[in-house]
């Protein structure tokens, strides 16, 4: 018993001392640290509301539009609860998508259908499906949980005038993601995401996301007001235009529960 404690102490001390000894962090450790810092800066909004306009374009240039209201609520130590309330297309007006993300478990998801006043649970394990027929998959639009990827720092690079880290992230649950890996450009000054390349399961470049119009809210929260996703394999693209961001607005937590979705409509 004593020797076991001694070994345990020894290992613990060795691990604790490792950084002091000046071992350079591995690319995995650097990647993870950058993602953690970006995550830390993105969070702490308590709750948020925003309006979202989606512009869908196909290869021929035809476009269609969707308007949504997005609300989110942070849950300490667990994840995020979010509501997407559809205003257009008109036939789905009042439809609400409720998502509870979890750090270490499958997310929970429900859809409220106003015509039947019915709340249906959705199998939310698979994230690769298109969100509203757009080029964004559910996994692109959901709030990213840190634990759902493994990370690796690739290089530092200037992107669009910003000094950036370039890191790679790979989904932990490969079977239920549409991607083998993503490459992300994050600036060193404020840890904002400027560009993401999505590689499909075969390893080919599938989509590129670019972010513009960053603005700082509540003195510390940076949010992009325009993001554009281009699908290189289909020629389609979807632009998201965000407006009316508000944070820490004392939202009713019950609005984010399945049983009370019917009160929102």
């Amino acid at each position: 018993m004593k020797s076991r404690i001694a070994i345990w102490l020894g290992v613990t001390l060795a691990l604790a001392a490792a950084p002091l000894l000046g071992d350079p962090p591995t690319p995995q450790q650097r990647g993870r640290a950058i993602a953690e810092e970006a995550d830390r800066r993105h969070r702490g909004f308590v709750d948020s509301t925003a309006n979202l306009r989606m512009m869908l374009r196909n290869r021929q240039g035809q476009s269609s539009q969707r308007e949504l209201r997005i609300r989110a609520l942070e849950v300490a130590g667990e994840g995020t609860k979010s509501l997407c309330i559809f205003d257009t297309p008109h036939d789905v007006k009042g439809t609400i998508l409720l998502t509870h993300t979890h750090k270490n478990a499958d997310d929970d998801q429900w859809l409220f259908l106003p015509a039947l006043r019915r709340v249906r649970r959705i199998a939310a394990k698979n994230k690769s499906g298109s969100f509203m027929g757009s080029e964004y998959a559910y996994e692109d639009i959901a709030i990213q949980e840190l634990e759902k990827y493994s990370y690796e720092w690739l290089r530092d690079e200037t992107y669009d005038g910003n000094d950036c880290f370039v890191i790679e992230r790979r989904p932990v649950d490969q079977a239920n993601s549409g991607y083998s890996r993503q490459v992300v450009w994050i600036d060193k000054a404020e840890y904002r995401t400027w560009k993401v390349e999505y590689y499909d399961r075969k390893g080919d470049l599938l989509k590129t996301l670019t972010c513009r119009g960053y603005r700082r809210y509540a003195d510390r929260l940076w949010r992009a007001r325009e993001t554009n996703m281009v699908n290189h394999q289909t020629g389609k693209s979807t632009q998201l235009i965000w407006s009316d961001f508000a944070f820490d607005t004392e939202q009713n937590e019950l609005d984010f529960e399945r049983s009370r979705l019917t009160l929102l409509r």
């Binding site: 036939d91 789905v92 959705i122 499906g129 027929g133 399945r258 049983s259």
Partner: protein
């Protein structure tokens, strides 16, 4: 009644003065029946128009006012030409409790093919044979959500009678349902105050609810007139008899990975008979089938009830299988097909529903029902010539 009129007037006044918003739809529908009708009064096909505008006003504190009238004009069936107030209610919200007063709509349940436990609103059966259209129910709902779940209490002072196709309409029993002359067990008839209490909660990946309902059965017993009045020997009519029931119901939805498990059941104690009814099954979704972005869901459910008291139930001991195709396209295309097989009699039917959007405002729905096999004397047997295709074009605003 007087208070209801005053209340309605007040609410309509709120609409007139309000800064809320209008939405809704107007639609044109055609139903095509390829076979000659069995009963001589029935028309071959029917065309109809319908509208359901929706007015909503929401206040900063989460309280809201909703008004949803509905009307349909039908070329063939005078019973199907009908209007209803689907909703006209005021919702008042505090942090963990609320009440809703007025005409409202509530759905309980989990399964896809039959909806057993859904009892608050009466079925608008003349609208569609699938029973998913509901009439507005006058109610006072009070709800509270402590940390251990949700409790909802419903007081329902006015009863709504079920609608049925009339003499000229297709998709009816061989006997006309005499909707003008219903009989009630309660001496207060359609003024009996019905009561329901429901507890619901979500624990992990399971959503469930249990409830107790005490009041007028939404699902009438259908009796030959001679049962009510021995002198009336007419065999071409059935009289709806609305009994008083106590019903205990429960519903459950569980998700495990790509599986969704669904179950509903109730025990009903009434005038003639006490019985148990249940339905349960699953839906499994194949996501992003071979990298196409399309999802395909397969579903199966089984329903059973011991009912033997003169309700016209289509499904007593039936197995359902179905498939749902969702291409996840910009037009929101959806296709759902289902097949029902009676496990006692050699009866079955097949349904297909498809819909897609055109532009920002238009939606086209196509639906077909095929009554493939039926046995003489059964409900389905009356429908054996009523295979139909329904085309609906709706403008949403």
């Amino acid at each position: 009644m007087r208070t209801l009129v005053v209340f309605s007037a007040w609410m309509l006044g709120a609409v007139a003065a309000g800064a809320g918003e209008w939405s809704g739809y107007a639609s044109v529908e055609g139903r095509f029946f390829p076979h000659e009708p069995i009963y001589s009064d029935q028309d071959d096909h029917n065309g109809s128009i319908a509208a359901q505008p929706e007015y909503r006003h929401e206040w900063e504190d989460g309280s809201s006012f909703t008004f949803i009238p509905f009307a349909r004009l039908d070329s063939a069936d005078s019973e199907r030409t009908h209007a209803d107030i689907r909703e006209l209610n005021y919702l008042y919200r505090e942090d963990i409790w609320f009440f809703r007063l007025g005409i409202g709509k509530v759905f309980w349940g989990a399964t896809e093919f039959v909806h057993l436990v859904d009892i608050v609103n009466q079925t608008d059966l003349v609208e569609h044979i699938d029973g998913e259209d509901k009439l507005g129910q006058p109610m006072l709902q009070f709800g509270i959500s402590p940390s251990w779940g949700n409790i909802d209490v419903f007081l329902m002072p006015f009863f709504r009678e079920r609608t049925y196709p009339g003499r000229d309409g297709r998709l009816r029993d061989r006997r006309i349902i005499d909707v003008d002359d219903p009989v009630y067990e309660s001496s207060s008839e359609d003024r009996n105050v019905d009561l329901a209490v429901r507890y619901s909660h979500t624990i992990g990946s399971a959503d469930f609810g249990v409830y107790l309902f005490r009041g007028t059965d939404r699902d009438p017993l259908l009796a030959p007139p001679s049962r009510i009045n021995p002198a009336d020997t007419d065999t071409t009519r059935l009289i709806p008899f609305y009994q008083q029931i106590n019903q205990f119901g429960a519903d459950l939805q569980v998700v495990t990975g790509n599986w969704l498990w669904k179950w509903e059941g109730y025990f009903r104690s009434g005038y003639l008979q006490d019985y148990f009814a249940t339905v349960g099954g699953f839906e499994y979704t194949f996501f992003d089938v071979s990298g196409s972005g399309h999802d395909i869901g397969v579903l199966s459910e089984y329903t059973h009830n011991d009912r033997d008291d003169g309700g016209l139930t289509l499904f007593q001991n039936d197995l359902f299988v179905g498939a749902r195709w969702t291409p996840n396209d910009a037009a929101g295309t959806q296709v759902l097909t289902g097949f029902a097989q009676d496990l006692e009699q050699s009866e079955n039917l097949l349904t297909v529903e498809a819909s897609r959007r055109f532009g920002e405002h238009w939606k086209l729905s196509l639906e077909a029902w095929l009554f493939l096999n039926s046995t003489p004397g059964s409900v389905l047997h009356s429908l054996r010539h009523d295979d139909f295709a329904r085309l609906d074009l709706s403008y949403y605003f």
